[in-house]
């Protein structure tokens, strides 16, 4: 009986997938290389040819440094397939900082848009362009219409979009959009690093990552580490993010359980 149910479920999922991708071949996924996180994602990895939301929290809502670093780490493997267009509202993204995270700066095209609508339309335009592997946009929010348009643009050339939610300096918080066309939503914050016992200074950068929404998958929260950041080996690894520990599901774990990570 349970076999029968599973069979039915799988068939229904495949049907929905066909409907969602409009009958096009799947753009594939980008696995993290750890079953604990890939198992939550549909298809066993970060779905490509879709767009993903990345948010920060606390002070990071305005600076969005951890989301930017996390996104750069996610995009780094994609940057080997094509150009990456990064659409900014404030031009404070600093290329030398991305090099240490394994991101090839010669693949990066930076665009500074004048307002929110322009940033979204530049993202759309770039996503629909041949030769662009990924587009990262820093905007405050994308409503349902804008999200749907981004999704359509992603499907044209199967490029992957990343939307970093970032509030303008001094701006007031806008109401969270209820729905979203994004495939996934990640909430990213820096986590204390754990250098090896004898080492001096900081360890490899760590992030508290919560997968808050995931179409066709499950949510989760993890502690991740960018192994070998700021070293020569960074560009050689398959995926620059390594899962260090699983955190409580559906919520960002407070500081306490982090000790387990050490």
């Amino acid at each position: 009986m349970s076999d029968f149910r599973a069979e039915r479920l799988r068939a229904a999922r495949a049907k929905i997938a066909v409907l969602e991708t409009d009958g096009r071949p799947d753009a594939g996924t980008l696995p993290f290389g750890d079953p604990r996180i890939d198992g939550c994602l549909p298809g066993g990895g970060l779905p490509l040819g879709r767009w993903h939301e990345v948010c920060g929290e606390g002070l990071e809502v305005e600076t969005a440094a951890a989301p930017a670093a996390f996104t750069a780490l996610l995009v780094a493997p994609l940057a080997r397939r094509g150009e990456v267009v990064w659409v900014l509202r404030r031009d404070d993204l600093w290329a030398p900082g991305l090099v240490g995270l394994g991101f090839p700066p010669e693949r990066l095209i930076q665009v500074c848009a004048r307002d929110e609508a322009e940033a979204l339309s530049v993202m759309e335009d770039a996503l629909a362009t041949v030769g662009v592997a990924a587009v990262v946009g820093e905007v405050e929010a994308a409503d349902l219409t804008a999200g749907r348009r981004l999704q359509l643009a992603c499907e044209k050339q199967r490029a992957t979009g990343f939307l970093i939610r970032r509030r303008p300096y001094g701006g007031t918080a806008r109401r969270e959009a209820t729905g979203s066309a994004a495939a996934t939503r990640w909430r990213v914050a820096s986590a204390p690093s754990e250098p090896p016992a004898a080492a001096f200074g900081l360890g490899d950068p760590r992030f508290r990552v919560a997968l808050e929404r995931c179409r066709g998958g499950r949510t989760g929260a993890w502690l991740m580490q960018a192994d070998g950041a700021y070293s020569q080996e960074m560009t050689d690894v398959a995926h620059p993010l390594r899962l260090v520990a699983e955190l409580g599901d559906r919520q960002l774990a407070p500081a306490q359980p982090l000790r387990l990570a050490g």
């Binding site: 969005a64 041949v130 900081l202 360890g203 950068p205």
Partner: protein, 478 residues
């Protein structure tokens, strides 16, 4: 010995002249104010003025040290005659507060003579420069020093007296060079000018029987004229990077629009599309009678065969280049860039902006390329354009990293820290007396209790009571 290289109008009224010894001049006019001559700055200013004059004529030649030649052949009708053109030039120059003299004549030589020694604003009628030149001093004919001295010695005081000398004896006495100068002034001999922007041969023009003003018409003629030029480019296997369309209005005004391409191209449809959003800025007034297009940065491109296999991976020409063109033409050139390494230790100077897809990135020789950024040096993902001040900084000993700091009203307790990385001033780039220990920065990478990573620096050194060190936050690692 110091001499006057230029004098103002007031000074010349007081009896000072160019070439006078500075000491003599000071004796004559004790309250004289002098400034150092800057020939390079003058040359730059003259070049800038030459570029500005392109509004009057596309052919502008620079006559160092203080002159400009404009070839106004065939452009004066846009103003309604030479007199109106000269009037417009004079009005605009005067509005900019520039002292000047101007003249129009058939030949560069005659125009030079009239502008320097004749009546200001003189316009020689076609072929009639002779009588106007006759009363001028012989120096007006641009002779070299030797010839000029000989003419002075012979007591010839007017150019007309020289013109009266038969050619044979003239050449024998003063040399062929002098005769050439005379012939050039009178139009008997051609003179080549070195124009600053050579008129491009890549030029197409459409004139209309009836002036047009409808926006749809503008879009249509923009495409038509682009197609005309692109057909020529195609025939000669060339492509261009920059196109300029000029709409010439009935009232003589010209409204130019420019678009740039990342890679040289000649697709009229694409070029017209880039112009389309800019057309609404064109005010047709009473109508547009002529539209011209010029192509610049023309270089050979190979024509590519249309792909049979469209599923294959597309090339840069099809995807990225049009995207970059669209963005650059819509947002402006300074809003689309690729970060390029600049060899500088100062963080804010280490990133330059290169045009995306520009050839200089991959075409340059390895030794000319600046060294890429060092991936092993931890650098923040976000760098603030201006470092932000932090206060309430606690550091145990002067050279220790801070154990606490306050930024944007929030106190951060430092859990781990790395540093210092001392970044000094690039003192060799400025005057040595401007260098200061206050410009030395000690950078620390610190992590607070929540895990947020910051790039802090301390400007200045301890031990200077007049300038205590100051702490700044320069970037966030995330």
């Amino acid at each position: 010995m110091r001499r006057l290289s230029a004098v103002s109008e007031t000074a010349s009224r007081l009896g000072l002249s160019v070439g006078q010894k500075a000491t003599d001049a000071m004796a004559l006019v004790p309250e004289l104010t002098t400034a150092e001559a800057e020939p390079e700055a003058d040359a730059t200013a003259l070049t800038a003025l030459g570029d500005w004059c392109v509004r009057f004529s596309p052919a502008v030649a620079i006559d160092a040290p203080d002159g400009l030649f404009l070839d106004v052949t065939g452009v004066d009708h846009l103003w309604g005659g030479e007199a109106a053109l000269l009037e417009d030039i004079r009005r605009r120059l005067a509005a900019n507060g520039l002292p000047f003299r101007a003249a129009i004549a058939d030949t560069p030589g005659a125009a030079w003579a009239l502008a320097h020694y004749g009546e200001d604003g003189a316009i020689a009628p076609p072929g009639g420069q002779g009588p106007l030149l006759a009363p001028l001093r012989p120096a007006a004919l641009r002779f070299d020093q030797e010839t000029w001295a000989q003419i002075e010695r012979l007591g010839l005081r007017q150019a007309g007296q020289l013109m009266a000398i038969p050619r044979g004896p003239f050449a024998r006495r003063f040399g062929r060079g002098a005769l050439l100068r005379l012939d050039q002034a009178l139009g008997r001999e051609a003179e080549a000018l070195e124009f600053r922007r050579p008129p491009t041969p890549w030029f197409a023009r459409l004139a209309f029987a009836e002036p047009i003003s409808e926006p749809e018409d503008l879009a249509r003629v923009a495409f038509d004229v682009a197609a005309k030029l692109c057909a020529r480019l195609e025939a000669e296997n060339q492509g261009a990077r920059r196109f300029e369309i000029a709409f010439h209005r009935l009232d003589g005004k010209t409204l130019p629009l420019q678009v740039g391409l990342t890679l040289p191209g000649r697709d009229a449809r694409r070029i017209a599309k880039l112009f389309a959003p800019k057309l609404e800025t064109v005010d047709p007034g009473f109508g547009i009678e002529v539209v011209t297009i010029t192509a610049e940065d023309v270089e050979p491109i190979s024509s590519r065969q249309a792909r049979l296999d469209t599923a294959r991976e597309a090339t840069v020409e099809e995807g990225l280049a049009p995207l970059v063109d669209r963005l650059v033409n819509r947002l402006g050139e300074d809003r689309v860039w690729r970060a390029a390494p600049v060899e500088s230790h100062v963080p804010e100077l280490a990133v330059g902006r290169a045009r995306p897809l520009s050839k200089s990135m991959d075409g340059a020789k390895p030794k000319d390329k600046p060294r890429p950024w060092d991936p092993t040096a931890p650098r923040p993902a976000r760098l603030f354009r201006r470092p932000e001040p932090v206060d309430m900084v606690l550091a145990i000993t002067p050279d220790d990293p801070p154990s606490q700091f306050r930024w944007r009203g929030q106190v951060h307790r430092v859990r781990r820290a790395e540093g210092p990385e001392r970044i000094g001033e690039e003192w060799w780039k400025a005057a040595i007396e401007d260098a200061d220990t206050r410009h030395v920065r000690d950078y620390y990478r610190v992590e607070d209790a929540e895990g947020a990573r910051f790039w802090l620096f301390r400007a200045g050194l301890y031990g200077d009571p007049a300038a205590p060190p100051q702490w700044w936050l320069h970037g966030v690692f995330g």
